[in-house]
């Protein structure tokens, strides 16, 4: 088959799978923007294919385009026939009818340039950076060759267990091996393109969400600031899983925030799916999901008198999806042995934490150094965020912005704790991981800066409760 057709299939199949799910979720809703529906459809499709692929391996069924895509399409078709209540004619709109201004064209040009640059850099070399090769690439190869040589599932698991960080989930390796399955050959040049694709999806989704709460021009500006962060683009060209995790976690949380602002049931379902896929992308997904659930819980308690039946239904669906995906991730961790290399039960012991308190000054020093001094990685984000917060200090601690502030603070505290208790030399750990960890929640800082700068200018921002 023509390689170009194969590459097209590797994108089209997850896209249409995800689109089927999105149309089911939003079946009774208003129209969605094309720029919103494309990235979330692809994100959902990749997540579903990776989970289904793992279940197929578990059942001893070989991975191929037929075994992966066909059952899923049939399932979605059946669900549409049984559940669908109305036609989705004209569901997708191409976008706003307002003609973009010159500034918006310029910003779109800069965003397009940044994305194209990342794809260009990524396409130059196959995966070659340490983590990309020995962590994710090797796992992807094991999965790919498991289907090529019909390797029993137990031997595949054994091979996966020999790699460092055995509890690392498999969304990224499955998405890389999916590309190679459609090509019918192992090609680490093409499967690397999964990473700039996640960068593109993050940029488009971030814009489509921000556009709902601030004017379009401001949303474009802050989307450009996000995608122009040097380190974010660099990670997308290296083939590191943190870009994908950032996509799933940030978009998942922002859809939750959208639901808090405007209780469209589908938003919370998308949030559950994305946060769930985040758990399947990196180990940090589980604590990040728990932080999001905590914030959701606070919102529900604070607004319990105002929540309508539909909203409670949405919350029920959220927890149902969370339990399903959490159960799946726990099952995977059980199969892999359930151990984390750096955090153990001892890490939760107060005496152990107190003994490690001398690490705090080093950790805080390095965080501020990265945040305020590493211009070549984070540009002036630290300063923009701090000044935005200082100038809008009251808004930052009032709903709905309070929920984003809380997410940033809790994430920051979580990672301080991880560095405090990790059973690894602290300077080495900080040096190899800090920037990637910052990347997980830095888009929230860009989002909140955009909100605060444009606050008061957009009607929808003023709506809080139902």
């Amino acid at each position: 088959m023509n390689p170009l057709l194969n590459i097209f299939a590797s994108i089209a199949i997850p896209f249409f799978l995800g689109l089927g799910v999105i149309l089911l979720i939003f079946r009774n809703s208003r129209r969605m923007d094309l720029l919103e529906i494309v990235p979330i459809s692809l994100g959902v499709g990749i997540g579903i294919i990776s989970i289904w692929g793992f279940l197929l391996l578990n059942l001893g069924i070989g991975l191929s385009v037929l075994t992966v895509a066909l059952p899923l399409f049939i399932a979605i078709l059946l669900a549409k026939i049984l559940i669908l209540k109305r036609e989705e004619k004209n569901f997708v709109s191409l976008g706003s009818k307002t003609h973009p201004s010159r500034i918006e064209f310029l910003l779109w040009g800069c965003i397009f340039f940044e994305i194209a640059y990342v794809f260009w850099l990524s396409s130059m070399r196959p995966i070659c950076v340490d983590d990309a090769v020995s962590m994710w690439g090797l796992r992807a190869k094991i999965i790919y060759f498991a289907q090529e040589f019909a390797v029993p599932f137990s031997k595949t698991l054994s091979a996966l267990r020999t790699i460092k960080h055995t509890d690392y989930p498999l969304l990224i390796p499955f998405s890389q091996s999916w590309v190679c399955i459609t090509l019918s050959q192992w090609n680490d040049g093409l499967c690397k393109m999964v990473f700039p694709t996640f960068f593109l999806l993050l940029t488009l989704s971030f814009y489509s969400i921000l556009k709902k709460v601030i004017p379009r021009k401001n949303a474009l500006l802050f989307t450009f600031l996000l995608c122009g962060l040097p380190f974010l683009g660099k990670m997308a060209t290296w083939g590191i899983a943190d870009v994908a995790f950032t996509f799933y976690y940030i978009i998942g949380f922002l859809y939750m925030y959208l639901w808090m602002n405007h209780p469209e049931g589908g938003y919370l379902t998308i949030s559950a799916l994305f946060l769930g896929f985040g758990m399947w992308t990196k180990a940090e997904g589980i604590p990040s999901m728990l932080i999001s659930i905590l914030i959701l819980g606070v919102f529900i308690i604070a607004n319990r008198r105002f929540l309508a039946k539909e909203q409670l239904k949405a919350v029920r669906n959220f927890f149902a999806i969370f339990l399903l995906l959490f159960g799946f991730v726990l099952y995977f961790r059980f199969l892999m042995g359930g151990k984390n290399d750096m955090i153990s039960l001892r890490s939760f012991s107060p005496s152990y934490m107190i003994a490690k308190l001398d690490r705090i000054p080093v950790i805080l020093y390095q965080f501020q150094r990265q945040f305020l001094g590493a211009f070549k990685k984070w540009n002036l984000l630290g300063y923009l965020f701090i000044f935005s917060v200082v100038f809008n200090i009251k808004k930052v601690f009032r709903p709905p912005v309070l929920y984003i502030t809380t997410a940033i603070v809790l994430n920051f505290m979580l990672y301080i704790w991880v560095y405090l208790v990790a059973e690894i030399e602290i300077h080495e750990f900080l040096g190899t991981s800090q920037n990637r960890i910052l990347m997980h929640f830095i888009p929230l800082m860009v989002f909140i800066s955009g909100l605060l700068l444009a606050s008061g200018k957009h009607e929808r921002y003023e709506k809080g409760k139902t």
Partner: protein
């Protein structure tokens, strides 16, 4: 006074509060820095692109691994039966075990394998192993002899 009020009402939408000026100045400097970083990195990226343009995937692997090691690994891929356990021995220098495992897969590394990959070590000898395939003077594949596969 009337004129002033008229102009003030026209200009009002564009008059920012002092805090907004600070934030917009940061954003303008941000954009300038973004352009500067791209301007500084573009020549190096372009030079890399020119070096890598037109190379096949295997040639790019050779650049990453080093030509000799890459050729040896290709030789191993051709000569070894599928999915074997191998033990690498010799001058792999800074090539980390974890990365080597990726490039040699689907062959798997273990301590006491039927096949030993000897790279740039002329003098290496192990009892019960004989030369299975010779790459060059100092690199070869040894196979356990005298035992069934």
């Amino acid at each position: 006074m009337k004129l002033f009020k008229m102009w003030h009402s026209k200009l009002k939408p564009f008059i920012l509060e002092p805090k907004d000026y600070v934030l917009w100045i940061i954003i303008v400097i941000w954009i300038i820095l973004w352009a500067v970083f791209h301007f500084m990195s573009f020549p190096k990226d372009l030079a890399n692109y020119k070096q890598l343009k037109g190379l096949s995937l295997e040639q790019k692997h050779a650049l990453v691994l080093g030509k000799e090691l890459h050729e040896f690994l290709l030789f191993c891929e051709v000569k070894l039966p599928p999915r074997q356990k191998v033990t690498p021995v010799g001058d792999f220098k800074s090539f980390q075990d974890s990365r080597f495992r990726y490039y040699i897969y689907p062959h798997r590394i273990c301590a006491d394998a039927d096949y030993i990959l000897v790279y740039k070590d002329k003098s290496f000898y192990k009892e019960n192993y004989s030369t299975f395939a010779q790459f060059d003077e100092s690199s070869r594949i040894l196979k356990r002899s005298g035992e069934p596969n």
